[in-house]
């Protein structure tokens, strides 16, 4: 009767077995990502083969076979049957030239100060958490360019009468506009004091800048043909950045304006500069601009290129900013108007702060493009970093078969670090700015 109870019931749960070795850890990862099928395995082998073709020669050239010390070309010439890599002593010998061009050696501290100030101005501007953004922006976009011009050129320009006349004329026009309500009997002078203050700024700011440039600080003047290398690259890039942002914003606002003539002018301007290659613009600024100006006005070659680059970058910037303006919902515009704000108040206080924040990644991407495009100035005979490197190949002291490869590798590393850094920053800002939407 009492048959033994054969059924066995476990009272506790069995130990979990580890996952099969083929599914976890390095092995499982490799199985899934490298050898998940025949096709994938073929691809992996192909990829590894490509890497084998590319990586070892590059490393050999840049590091293992490279020459690290030497005085002149003798060090970098291939010994009989030997394989020679990069000629780094050449870069070392030319490094000062790559940074400053032919800028006089005893004056190079001025360039260093400009680099340092630029760094100190730009870094806090780029860090979202850094305080005093407004002053920082005024410094970087207003004060820094003037200081740089004075330091780099030596300042002490002549007194151009027409410039002063223009400033006075603009000031009078601004004051006239400010006092217009008084003339037509609509307001008292006291009411218009803030507007008069604005008119005073129209005078004070350019006047201060012009005055700074005319004062002789006792700095040795340095002609721009002596500038070169990274100095010229950064001067062009920073000018493009500093000029393109305000002009681009104005153009974008103009393109979305209700006034048909303003809109038309802005559209033509933007589409013209965006439709033609930068190199033709540089040709234009170097060949055609002198024809457009009166006989006695002559521009420096670098300044002409800077004007071309600034307009070119502004047109691209305008399209980026326009994208931001379009992304602001209509309710924001209507709300601002309902509060009784005028056009400029609405733009300054409500729309632009939101729109510009939205397009920071786009702005940074425009800067990356601009930074790469600075190399084009070597075609019109200015010596930026690439131009200086290209020029240094002609030096018989360092003429070897590997000189040009080394020079290009150095340039590539420099440009890559800057551009990749900026693109990482743009990605970081994009993530940070979209944090609000990703709930």
């Amino acid at each position: 009767m009492s048959q033994p109870d054969l059924a066995f019931v476990r009272t506790e749960q069995a130990e979990t077995l580890p996952a099969p070795i083929s599914n976890v850890g390095a092995f499982g990862w490799m199985r899934e990502h490298l050898f998940s099928g025949l096709w994938n395995t073929v691809l992996t082998i192909l990829g590894l083969y490509i890497l084998y073709l590319l990586i070892p020669p590059l490393l050999n050239f840049a590091i293992f076979d490279a020459i690290w010390t030497g005085e002149d070309r003798e060090a970098c010439l291939a010994t009989a049957g030997g394989h020679v890599g990069a000629c780094w002593p050449y870069v070392d010998a030319k490094l000062d030239q790559f940074i400053y061009g032919r800028y006089p050696i005893e004056e190079r501290w001025r360039v260093n100060i400009v680099f340092l100030l630029g760094f100190l101005g730009l870094v806090p501007l780029a860090i979202p958490a850094a305080p005093f953004k407004r002053f920082n922006a005024i410094f970087f976009f207003g004060i820094y360019p003037v200081i740089s011009v004075v330091l780099l050129t030596g300042g002490g320009f002549g007194h151009p009468a027409w410039l002063w006349a223009l400033i006075v004329l603009l000031t009078l026009a601004a004051a006239g506009l400010a006092l217009l309500p008084v003339f037509v009997g609509q307001a008292k002078v006291e009411d218009q004091l803030p507007a008069l203050g604005m008119a005073g700024m129209v005078f004070a700011v350019p006047a201060a800048a012009v005055w700074l440039m005319t004062v002789d600080f006792g700095l040795e003047p340095v002609e721009t043909p002596l500038w070169g290398g990274i100095l010229v690259t950064l001067v062009i890039a920073v000018t493009g950045i500093v000029a393109s942002l305000p002009i681009g914003i104005l153009l974008a606002l103009g393109r979305r304006s209700d006034m048909p003539m303003v809109r038309l002018v802005c559209i033509i301007f933007i589409e013209f500069w965006r439709g033609v290659p930068l190199i033709t613009i540089l040709f234009m600024s170097s060949v055609m601009l002198p024809l457009f100006l009166p006989e006695n006005v002559t521009f420096d070659k670098l300044l002409r290129a800077l004007i071309g680059v600034a307009f070119f970058a502004s047109a691209y910037m305008a399209e980026v900013v326009r994208g931001g303006l379009q992304a602001i919902p209509n309710g924001q515009y209507e709300g601002a108007r309902a509060l009784g704000l005028g056009y400029w108040q609405m733009m300054n206080l409500i729309v632009l702060p939101q729109a510009l924040k939205l397009v920071i990644p786009g702005i940074v991407n425009t800067f990356i493009g601009l930074f790469k495009d600075t190399t084009l100035v070597l075609i019109i005979g200015l010596f930026d970093l690439l131009g200086t490197i290209q020029l240094s190949f002609t030096d018989p002291k360092w003429s070897t078969p590997v000189t040009s490869h080394t020079g290009y590798l150095f340039a590539a590393i420099f440009y890559w670090i800057f551009c990749y850094g900026m693109s990482r920053y743009s990605l970081y800002m994009e993530k940070k700015l979209s944090a609000g939407e990703r709930r």
Partner: protein, 396 residues
């Protein structure tokens, strides 16, 4: 009375200087006045400057003999040709490098864009490195690299690298066999066109039949058979009317054959590799923009990854891809002007460069050059807008 006074004074308060219409008219009038003054002074200065420098004006120079040779020309050109012909030669060279560059860049971009999303770690990392390196290096540096560093270190004619004894690579360029057409070659050309038309019709018929009956037809295999078979059959029937002239080493250089100049190769490589990196990012973003549900639904219906990509994901991704792709094509065309840095005879190099230096007529020459690029820009964007409208989502 007092109330009426109040109304009157408040009406008076809205003076014309606060009227938005008046303000807008005034600002526009000022803008136009300033522009007219600027334009007028520019024209005046230019005329005065040209007279002082004794530079001729007008387009008469286009008929003058150019007197310089051009390294590559798609049409007959000699030193006796006119500047007008130089312009056409430059324009054709620009178009040639742009069109081929666009084709290669698109292929590279799609390969690397899809590879970047590959499940295969090695492949996806290679694509990532390609994109990040090429995108972040100046194009001019890349052109210099290919031209001065790579193509210059290729051996001279006597030590040419050779493929099947018919293609030779040396520092004078790339030598290819040159096709010679004999009578009857036209028929082969026609047969190629007929084959293309036949494939197009076959595809339409197959799609119609599949819609009607659900039966599939192996279009791809048939298309390959027709495209290669028909011209081959015609080729042999007409007695092989196309022969090749092979380049031969005579003395210090090659004679005969088709020469592709190193400038072209360097420019083409740099342009397509550079733009390809941008296109790869566009393709990746476009594919990622197609929601994951589409892929999952497609798998649920039983489609394998290949057809899913081809039939579900890519058609939808194209909508996102086309607009930025257009601007990349435009960029490539505009960037082809960097040819001037290595003296590839494109429009900017031979026309805005050499011709400008010889004649000094900056206004006319740069005006024509700018007009060409503006026209190309507008044409491309018009074409792409048309295509974009066609593939755009039709909302019902």
């Amino acid at each position: 009375m007092a109330v009426q006074d109040g109304i009157e004074s408040s009406q008076k308060a809205s003076s014309f200087i606060y009227d938005p219409k008046v303000r807008s008219l005034f600002s526009q009038a000022v803008l136009i006045a300033v522009l007219i003054w600027l334009g007028y002074s520019v024209v005046q200065n230019t005329i005065a400057n040209l007279e002082r420098q004794n530079i001729a004006s007008g387009f008469g120079f286009l008929d003058t003999t150019a007197g310089f040779a051009v390294g590559q020309s798609l049409i007959a050109y000699s030193e006796a040709s006119s500047y007008g012909r130089t312009f056409v030669v430059g324009l054709l060279n620009t178009l040639l490098v742009s069109v081929i560059g666009i084709a290669i860049a698109t292929v590279l971009g799609f390969i690397f864009g899809i590879a970047r999303l590959s499940n295969n770690w090695v492949i996806s990392k290679i694509a990532y490195v390609y994109v990040e390196v090429m995108r972040n290096l100046p194009l001019l540096l890349q052109i210099f690299f290919w031209y001065f560093a790579v193509l210059r270190s290729v051996p001279g004619p006597r030590e040419s690298i050779t493929v099947f004894d018919s293609i030779f690579i040396n520092n004078r360029g790339l030598k290819l066999p040159k096709p010679l057409y004999e009578p009857g070659a036209g028929l082969v050309g026609i047969s190629i066109l007929v084959a293309i038309a036949a494939v197009w019709l076959l595809r339409r018929w197959a799609r119609k039949r599949q819609m009607a009956t659900g039966e599939q037809f192996p279009v791809f295999q048939w298309a390959v058979a027709i495209l290669f078979g028909l011209p081959l059959v015609v080729f042999y029937l007409t007695g092989s009317p196309v022969s090749f002239e092979y380049p031969e080493l005579r003395g210090f250089n090659f004679q005969g054959g088709l020469t592709i100049i190193p400038e072209f190769v360097a420019l083409l490589l740099a342009l397509s590799v550079y733009t390809g990196a941008f296109i790869a990012e566009i393709v990746r973003a476009g594919i990622l923009a197609v929601s994951r549900g589409q892929t999952e639904a497609s798998y649920a219906l039983g489609l394998r990854p290949g057809p899913t990509l081809r039939l579900v994901v890519i058609p939808q991704a194209l909508r996102v891809i086309i607009p930025p792709l257009t601007s990349q094509y435009l960029n490539l065309t505009k960037n082809s002007s960097l040819a001037v840095a290595i003296a590839y005879p494109d429009l900017v190099s031979v026309f805005a460069g050499t011709t400008l230096n010889q004649t000094g007529q900056a206004v006319e020459i740069l005006g024509m050059t700018l007009a060409v690029y503006l026209t190309l820009s507008l044409l491309t964007s018009a074409l792409m807008n048309w295509y974009n409208r066609r593939v755009a989502l039709v909302e019902r």
